[in-house]
Symmetry: C2
Subunit: 210 residues, 2 copies
Amino acid sequence: MPQAIVLLSGGLDSTTTLYYAIDKGYDCRALIFDYGQRHRREIRHAVAVARRVKVPYHLLKINLPWKGSALLDPNSRLPITSHKKIGKKIPATYVPARNTIFLSFALSFAEAVGAEAIFIGANAVDFSGYPDCRPTYYRAYEKVIKQGLKSNKIKIITPLIKLTKTQIIKLGRKLGAPLEETWSCYAGGKKPCGVCESCRLRNMGFSAIM
Amino acid sequence: MPQAIVLLSGGLDSTTTLYYAIDKGYDCRALIFDYGQRHRREIRHAVAVARRVKVPYHLLKINLPWKGSALLDPNSRLPITSHKKIGKKIPATYVPARNTIFLSFALSFAEAVGAEAIFIGANAVDFSGYPDCRPTYYRAYEKVIKQGLKSNKIKIITPLIKLTKTQIIKLGRKLGAPLEETWSCYAGGKKPCGVCESCRLRNMGFSAIM
């Protein structure tokens, strides 16, 4: 069985991605990050998902003391964006180089265990305007792998990159992913706030298929 | 003054690079990593160098639980390579994706504080065969910045990339860098072992100018 590393946040997209990778026959290991996100609650959901499918995982704590994001500062205000404006510009919840950091650890993990693929649930359609969710970014990252790594054949697989949120939910359900147990809200409360970008995108996705 | 992030390990190359960046007029901040290296002693030297030049720094602890390198496992044997064979192949001290991880944090730091450059003391001449020390790797990484970051104009500057170890030492001395206070040995002992690749490269560099 080919091996893969799956980046798992505990949200809708990464959970669907994990189920997709398993469905495609990969022997998966998950990588979960505690990076100081205000919605630490998602970590618990990520761990629960990994355990449910019996996928070994590492939970890594990383420190970004320079912050630079509303997602890392519980005292800052989260943007309340209307549905139409989501994705039009880079929001305050953008974390500088977050996916670049996550991928770099995934690469290290993949090289060390001999995995041939890294799965990430990035999405460029119903997304929040993050530059590190675009296909061109992932193609550029693969060139870094080709040039700078020992195992220069590791692929980055982004199965959701061209799907809408509704299509992702349909795919997740088809694969039997426990979508109701995932966590998307950025606000950090005990219940989803319903108005942050992440809640809105999730709710839009679900309401379209009800 | 333009701002820069300098990756600082406490060795000869990164110390010279920091002095170079300061000399070029950059307002520098240093980034030091505790990544489980067996030669943790280098961290102390990195901190001492940053303090000496009054450069603010972050010391980040990162966890690479999958290891995959003789440099992360104090029980493994360090390769004892003859002078002639150094650089011919990727050695056991290669840490999977290490520079890719370091650069990703430097990028995040640079974006958050508005720095326009990242300095790294990589060297492709008298080096140890690491793929992430080659110029092509850094050019590929700059494309990742262009595609996936908010501040897509951050440059990666590698002032030592084409210098021999002897040329680096000469440059460091010219800039007043405290080279004698740097630490290169991989072995993790209280004194340099003199036979690991890093000691050999350092000693070769110094002996050529004595």
